[in-house]
Amino acid sequence: MLGLAASRKFGWRVLPRPDDELIAGALGGEQAAFSELTARYRPRIERICQRFFSDPELARDIAQECFIRAYTALSTYRREMPFAGWLRAIVTNLCYDELRRRRRRPEELVSDFSAPEAQWMRLVEEATPEEIVAEAEGRREAHDLAHRLLDSLRPEDRAVLIMKDSEGMQVSEIADTMGWSQAKVKIRAFRARQALRKSVQRMQFAGHECKV
């Protein structure tokens, strides 16, 4: 507290408190410590949720649920693993449960592209790779179309793709997080890619029909 006051008065830069110290503080009843942990990891956790769900409000709710679960289970956290990894495991399981609760409707995949979505698909087919990357930035329709493709996958396939490709998790980490064997993770990753490839083909075919 004294250090904080001094740093404010003299403009010193305060080093961020390490996770372990904040966790110990939170376990000791210091609520500000857990708030600091929340602020530190919230963007990362919300980003993971946004990969699972296109609805930003739902993504926010699940991120919040993740921090509440983390708080209530903080005493079970083991220091051998990084806190970020522990939070990631909680949020991934929450997102996976939510995906399983929702019914997937693959028939929606190939039906009715909006005009901006059809335009984006045409651009992906015809423009150069550099142009595609430049154009994709901040395009809502690119985001929506990607979610529509991912919605066609089974929940476990989608979860594996996100953990492996987006989060760069190792097979053993995914196996630990999901409670699966490593062989199952590898098989699911392979099948997820196959399924995604098929969905892309179906979508491209539907896109061609839209143009005609």
Binding site: F34, E57, Q64, Y71, T72, E130, H147, V200
Partner: protein
């Protein structure tokens, strides 16, 4: 650059993390290899979700929209912290309620089927119906001589 290296660099290319030399090499490879070019176009269709660092502007705007009441995590957490230990235990075990409901429904089902069974089945035969007239005396002898005969007037 071979096809394996090219595909491994797709994510870095999308996030603009490759150095200019590597980026140029990948552009060159994509221009020359039709399979990798096709793979990149398929990759691009999902990369906005799987490989982007942030949500698009639309999503970010929706998150920041004032119509959505911001939920304060630390406020909720402080509420949890103020709960009694017993209540917190209940929060930790949310599956107890479905289990209780399942047991209750099984009990209701068993009670209902037992009721239906006894309501529809015939009443059990009486002792006198079950055995013939000839055996009645034997049975009554067994119970003892003090018992009145079935035809006797008990009032005297």
């Amino acid at each position: 650059m071979n096809c394996f290296e090219a595909r491994r660099d797709f994510a870095g290319y999308w996030r603009r993390e490759l150095d200019p030399v590597r980026r140029a090499e990948l552009n060159q490879h994509l221009g020359a290899c039709a399979k990798c070019d096709h793979a990149f176009r398929s990759f691009a269709l999902t990369a906005s979700v799987l490989h982007s660092e942030a949500a698009p502007h639309g999503a970010a705007a929706a998150v920041a929209s004032p119509r959505v009441a911001p939920k304060n995590v630390s406020k909720n957490i402080s509420k949890i912290a103020q709960l009694s230990p017993l209540t917190r235990t209940r929060i930790d075990r949310p599956r107890a309620r479905p289990l209780l409901a399942m047991c209750a429904s099984i009990a209701i089902l068993v009670a209902a089927s037992a009721g239906a069974y006894f309501a529809t089945s015939a009443p059990p035969p009486s002792l006198t119906d079950a055995i013939g007239d000839e055996q009645q005396s034997t049975v009554l002898d067994l119970f003892g001589p003090d018992l009145p005969n079935p035809g006797d007037d008990l009032a005297g």
